[in-house]
């Protein structure tokens, strides 16, 4: 399963990771090897098998739709890199 550099760059974009030119070859090699390795999964017939997402097939437990949390914005924002007026600061998005 040999990945092209274009594919590596596309995956990086999906994952919001930056890949330097110098790193491309290593990623190609490692990811191709890993994806090649997992191709063993083709060996078995999985027709009619239900996928398993939770070990005991539990589904989401529900609760009453009432407010149980308190406003702790200051506490949680105190560890943020940049805030102002209770908002998180990021580089400008809208032109």
């Amino acid at each position: 399963m040999a990945l092209t550099t274009a594919e590596i760059l596309n995956i990086a974009k999906l994952a919001r990771l930056h890949v330097e030119e110098s790193e491309l070859a290593d990623y190609q090699q490692d990811l191709s090897a890993i994806l090649g390795f997992v191709e063993q999964m083709e060996q078995v017939n999985v027709d009619g098998v239900e996928p398993m997402a939770h070990p005991q097939d539990m589904s989401q437990s529900l609760r009453e739709d009432v407010v149980t949390e308190s406003d702790q914005r200051e506490r949680f924002q105190s560890i943020a890199p940049a805030t102002a007026n209770g908002l998180y600061l990021v580089p400008k998005v809208i032109e």
Binding site: E7, I8, I11, A12, L14, A15, R16, L17, H18, V19, Y27, D30, L31, A33, I34, L35, F37, V38, E39, Q40, M41, E42, Q43, V44, V46, V49, E50, P51, M52, A53, H54, P55, Q56, M58, Q60, S61, R63, Q72, R75, F76, Q77, S78, I79, A80, P81, A82, Y88, V90, P91, K92, V93
Partner: protein
């Protein structure tokens, strides 16, 4: 004091032979002496530990289960007001604003917290070599790895730097380091222990569990931490057994299965010999041993290395330089903020797994990779369920080798992945598993794994306890740490 088991320490504390402050100070001294050579800790909290120890000593009545016992916690559990780094540059500046449920429960049990232990970055690894804070060393041989990802927690017990410790296990990260370090480690059933406040790697596989000198010690920690938690919607509302009270219940007649797939030609002869000897001991204790088959076991590693990276790519998307953790300098725009913050702060293995995961979940590949892996997961789980109609416990070596040398496997991710062969299917199936020491091969510990069906941790603990009443592998410590 450090050569007593946790159970013995509880008795000694109750009898007034020493105080929690004395015990805690003793461990503090040992941690200080050995931190440079072992690198087991990321954050050491001696003042806080002594304060908690004093409080424990002052409790005269209604002493909780672990009153005054000094513990170490893998740096993956959020500890309020204390740095919680997950061994990553991404969280090097992160002071957790709240406590994980495991932490709260241990506090309520009266335990003392010595500090946060070193690990593989974001729990991704089998050697504790990928930490931002440097490698952890194996006390049995400082040129070798302690295993991972919970290496620091395993070393804390193996080198007697704490009475016991907590780790996490997603593909073997408690059991494998327990085997490499010659101690007992337990991964509970998925959903047995709350994951609230435990930094997520693969949400359908992660589980917190104890390391101890003995199975009984692990039983104490499991007793204190197990139970339903409304804040973790994957935690199961199942009553918590009296693991410590019931540990002496009879094991005669319990049926143990040896999967033929795990005992083939390639298995190291010396490890095989130790497992065979342990099986003889179990037969003497009244257990019945028979061959079984887990036909899809060979696909477990492949399925895991699709599912776990897929889930990690989702879980680690929260690290974006916006609300907490590392932020790159002078981001040009939002895309730059995200990609540079993440790339500058995540290590290579973490980035590899995020990329594999993103690929496996992407349009056009989801069915071939992620969905197929989830189907194989069901087949593996069904293999175990079928086995449990014939036996009570599935037994195998914990690892194919003893502890390997530092840097031996870092260049080839797949070689590292293959060391998880016996442990990984257990996480896919969500079953409980324990590793106990059963001997040495060329002076390095050999571990044996036992797996039982859902919520049957008591079966594992009882068998392990009886084995440990008749053998003393679990009491061995490396000479320098006696």
């Amino acid at each position: 004091m450090h050569n007593l088991t946790l159970a013995q320490q509880l008795q000694a504390l109750a009898a007034g032979e020493f105080s929690s402050v004395e015990l805690t100070q003793h461990y503090i001294n040992r941690i200080e002496s050995h931190q440079d050579s072992l690198n087991a800790f990321i954050t050491f909290t001696p003042e806080r530990a002594l304060e908690e120890a004093q409080k424990a000593d002052q409790r005269s009545t209604d002493k909780p289960l672990l009153n005054g016992i000094p513990l170490a916690l893998k740096d993956i559990f959020c500890t309020q007001g204390v740095k919680t780094s997950c061994a990553s540059k991404m969280l090097d500046n992160f002071i957790a604003p709240y406590d994980a449920t495991v932490v709260t429960k241990l506090q309520q049990a009266g335990a003392v917290s010595l500090g946060k232990t070193n690990m593989d970055e974001f729990a991704m690894g089998s050697s504790s070599e990928s930490s931002y804070y440097g490698d952890v060393k194996n006390p049995w041989d400082l040129s070798r790895v302690p295993g991972g990802s919970s290496g620091g927690s395993a070393v804390a017990v193996s080198a007697r730097l704490a009475s016991a410790s907590m780790g996490t296990d997603t593909g073997g990260s408690i059991r494998q380091p327990a085997a490499f370090c010659g101690i007992t480690g337990l991964k509970p059933t998925y959903g047995r222990v709350s994951r609230y406040g435990m930094i997520a790697y693969a949400s359908s596989l992660d589980q917190a569990g104890p390391f101890g000198v003995s199975a009984l010690d692990c039983a104490y920690l499991l007793q204190a931490t197990a139970g339903h938690d409304a804040k973790d919607s994957t935690s199961v509302d199942q009553p918590v057994d009296e693991y410590t009270a019931n540990i002496n219940e009879d094991i005669r007649g319990l049926r143990i299965g040896l999967p033929e797939e795990f005992f083939q030609e390639g298995l190291d002869a010396d490890i095989r010999a130790k497992i065979d000897a342990a099986c003889d001991q179990l037969r003497e204790l009244g257990c019945v041993i028979k061959p079984i088959s887990l036909p899809n076991a060979k696909l477990a590693i492949a399925a895991y290395y699709v599912i776990a990276p897929a889930e990690c790519s989702s879980n680690l998307s929260r690290f974006d330089g916006v609300r907490f953790g590392y932020r790159c300098e002078d981001p040009v725009d939002l895309a730059d903020l995200y990609s540079r913050s993440r790339s500058e702060a995540f290590g290579p293995e973490v980035k590899r797994r995020i990329m594999v995961g993103a690929y496996a979940l992407s349009a056009g590949y989801y069915d071939a990779y992620y969905l197929r892996a989830q189907k194989i997961r069901r087949l593996i789980s069904e293999d175990y369920q079928k086995a449990f109609t014939e036996v009570d416990v599935v037994l195998s070596p914990t690892t194919p080798t003893t502890a390997f040398k530092t840097n031996e496997k870092v260049d080839d991710p797949i070689t590292m992945y293959l060391s998880d062969i016996y442990t990984i299917g257990v996480n896919l199936a969500g079953l409980p598993g324990i590793s106990i020491p059963v001997g040495f091969s060329q002076k390095l510990p050999v571990g044996m794994q036992m797996v039982s069906t859902y919520f049957a941790e008591d079966t594992l603990l009882r068998i392990a306890h009886q084995f440990q009443q008749h053998t003393d592998w679990h009491l061995q410590t490396p000479a320098e740490f006696e």
